[in-house]
């Protein structure tokens, strides 16, 4: 590699740099300097892309954005978390006024309802926005109520910067999400360079494709804790890759533990990712113990302890205040009952895969893998009200199948290497499995037990974006010297075009 392909040094090397430099800030600066320019460009692409989406999507038209905004408002204005137990809480009068001014009720979930279209409506909106009405709601934040507070605490900063103007507050909060999108692309880049050190170009293009992914940009360009979960997951993948390829040093284990803790504090869905993270730690611990004895258990145990600490504090707080020990997660315990578990597993299977004869039919008439996961991955924006025509989904099958074939070809060709890296791959697969099972089980609880909607939204799978970047990179590598440049460049144009066409679809829906 003539270029400093992947120059972030091992934690030990970084520690040395820190000591030599004399100060911690110098050490951090040195680490940042060693990140290749290409990684920063990937991050910049993701940042600008998300900023673009934040400007295209009208205020509060990001998925559940009004609820997430209400959570931040509750923290700042009331100084407390939204947990007063009222199931049908209301937003603050000021938020309600702005939503009314935006005609949100007629636009959300209604593809035929467009955003404001006259100057008079704009004047009315500004009047509502400047009304100075109460910023205190009933103390709830809709579907966001059960979520942990870290993301919302961070979003309180832009809220405070623009305090008093909801529309500006919301836009600044969206920009924070765009930063998270940039960090996701950065982590994906570093992860791919780590796992594919001999294919730096393929890794770069894989990360670039992730940076251009429109669903990532849409989610990062709106106020939603998912946007913070993506970089946390990306950084976790990076830590695991480094730990498996180098070693799980004490410093790396602290970083990994902190990431797990941050994940737990970001969104409940992280529980699915945590399963894989802890599985990865267990595999690493086993490997280290075999190599250097029991002393090596120190680092993985430290990571596990740091990671689980917020859960322990949360459980203790709930016990002391006579709430369910694990909050909303406690309700999930009923799914593990002997009579229920078979149904849950059957449901989860059918949620992603074709039904096997003998299974109860949970999705009659629906090919979940295509109608839910593939078609909605092609395009599902706004409040699940902006999709492409069915023919676009069918056309999208062609490039998707081509990438899948190339990826499969490369896997078969490199099966020897894969076998050697089985422990590492098993950790990644555990993360995938954990997330899929969590989404499926939550969907079962909502769909089957509570007769509420299922949870079939591809945004839940975006924490796995670094692996999608890996799929792109391996598909490029499958082309060999001769075809790889053409495949890589085609993928970049394809993703860029896909991004623009998605933006146009959203523009047509809200402003057409």
């Amino acid at each position: 590699m003539s270029r400093p392909a992947f120059a972030v040094r091992s934690p030990i090397a970084r520690a040395r740099v820190g000591r030599a430099g004399g100060t911690r800030s110098k050490s951090r600066a040195a680490v940042l300097r060693q990140i290749p320019t290409a990684a920063w460009i990937c991050a910049l692409v993701a940042l600008l892309n998300a900023v673009t989406w934040s400007l295209i999507v009208p205020p509060f038209e990001g998925k559940d954005e009004s609820d997430h905004f209400a959570y931040v408002e509750q923290i700042v204005e009331n100084g407390s978390l939204p947990e007063n137990g009222q199931p049908n809480g209301t937003y603050s009068l000021q938020e309600d006024l702005v939503l009314e001014g935006l005609h949100a009720g007629a636009v959300i979930h209604s593809p035929q309802g467009t955003s404001l279209s006259t100057e008079a409506e704009q004047r009315a909106l500004i009047k509502d926005n400047d009304a100075g009405a109460s910023r205190r709601g009933s103390g709830e934040a809709g579907i966001a109520t059960a979520e942990p507070p870290l993301y919302y605490a961070i979003e309180a900063i832009p809220y405070l910067l623009a305090r008093g103007n909801i529309l500006v507050e919301l836009q600044l909060m969206r920009l924070v999400g765009a930063l998270f999108g940039a960090i996701t692309a950065l982590c994906t880049f570093l992860f791919l360079r780590e796992i594919l050190p001999r294919s730096p170009w393929a890794a770069t293009v894989g990360a670039l494709c992730v940076a251009l992914e429109p669903l990532l940009a849409f989610m990062s360009g709106s106020v939603n804790p998912d946007s913070m979960l993506y970089p946390v997951a990306g950084a976790m993948f990076l830590c695991l890759a480094r730990a498996f390829r180098r070693s799980l040093t004490l410093r790396l284990s602290v970083v990994f533990g902190v990431l797990i803790a941050v994940g737990f504090l970001t969104k409940v869905n992280f529980i699915g990712l945590a399963f894989g993270a802890y599985f990865g730690l267990a595999v690493l611990a086993l490997r280290e113990v075999r190599a250097t004895g029991r002393r090596a258990l120190c680092a993985p145990l430290l990571a596990a302890a740091v990671g689980v600490s917020p859960v322990a504090v949360y459980a203790l707080r709930n016990l002391l205040s006579s709430h369910h020990t694990l909050g909303i997660v406690s309700a999930g315990g009923s799914l593990l009952a002997p009579g229920e578990i078979v149904n849950v597993l059957s449901y989860i299977w059918q949620f992603y895969l074709p039904r096997v004869p003998g299974m109860t039919h949970y999705f009659q008439g629906v090919a979940t893998y295509k109608d839910i996961w593939f078609d909605r991955s092609v395009g599902l924006y706004g409040w699940m009200d902006t999709m492409f025509s069915p023919w676009v989904d069918n056309v999208a099958l062609i490039p998707a199948a081509a990438v899948a074939l190339l990826f499969g070809r490369e896997l078969v060709a490199r099966r020897g290497v894969l076998r050697a890296r089985l422990p590492e791959l098993s950790a990644y697969m555990a993360i995938v499995l954990g997330l899929l099972v969590l989404i499926g089980a939550s969907s079962y609880d909502s769909d089957v037990l509570q007769r509420s909607p299922a949870f079939g939204e591809p945004r839940y799978l975006l924490p796995l974006l670094p692996l999608l970047g890996g799929v792109f990179a391996l598909a490029i590598r499958a082309g060999g010297r001769r075809w790889a440049p053409a495949i890589g460049a085609s993928l970049v144009v394809l993703l860029f075009g896909y991004d623009i066409v998605s933006q146009l679809q959203v523009i047509a829906r809200y402003y057409g």
């Binding site: 600008l48 205020p59 006259t118 770069t204 079939g456």
Partner: protein
Amino acid sequence: MRPQSNLAAVGRSHGSINEHREDGGIEALEAASERMRAVRVVQVTLAVGVALLIGVIAYTLSRSPPRVLRAGVAPNVVLSPLAGSGAACQIDEVLPAHTSAIRLSIVAYIGARIRLTAYSGSQLLTGGSRGPDWTGTSVTVPVKPLSRTVSNVRLCVDIGPNSEYVYLFGRETPPAEAMVVPTGGRLSGRLDISYLGAGRRSWWSRALEVARHMGLGRAFSGTWIVLLIATLVGVVGILAGRLTLRELP
């Protein structure tokens, strides 16, 4: 002899160095040529791709967005929650000429297959179907357009199979006007049905209107937002293209 052999040895050694140099030079040349070829391939692919993209976007913008030929009743009530298959017909509908799609206020998180048939008396006028790949508060079903407007149409909706609940939204009416189910019973009102056809103006001709529209609904209104968005998209494209070329091995 020895000096000669030494010379010969030196000569051989020099030859070997020269050969190595030549080998190294050839390898370097080959690598440079390989890189040039790769750069050319990437440049051509990017150029062709961007040209295709511009073509696709230009073609799409030359098309007209669908417009509502005839709006339905403003929905305010759930007529029927459906779990499993179901069917119902609505009488006294007017099917406008050139209707290319019919939008039904049917709410589902995971959609179901929808089959639509329009009758005049017992004569089948047109029909269409849509797979379960939809979600939200309405589903649009493409139908074969007719050249003339037809009144007193009976529009039948066949939904399913499905496991999720599907809700028909509409407005309560006297029983005589309400939707009829195959068993002969009636729902509580009429389904909200809108008839869509091709618009008269292309996206191109509406570009300024859309741009003005995009400038509204924010704290800082103005069409400049569209220019900012276009600039950002351009910068993203340039950065992506340049990075793809720059990082070639």
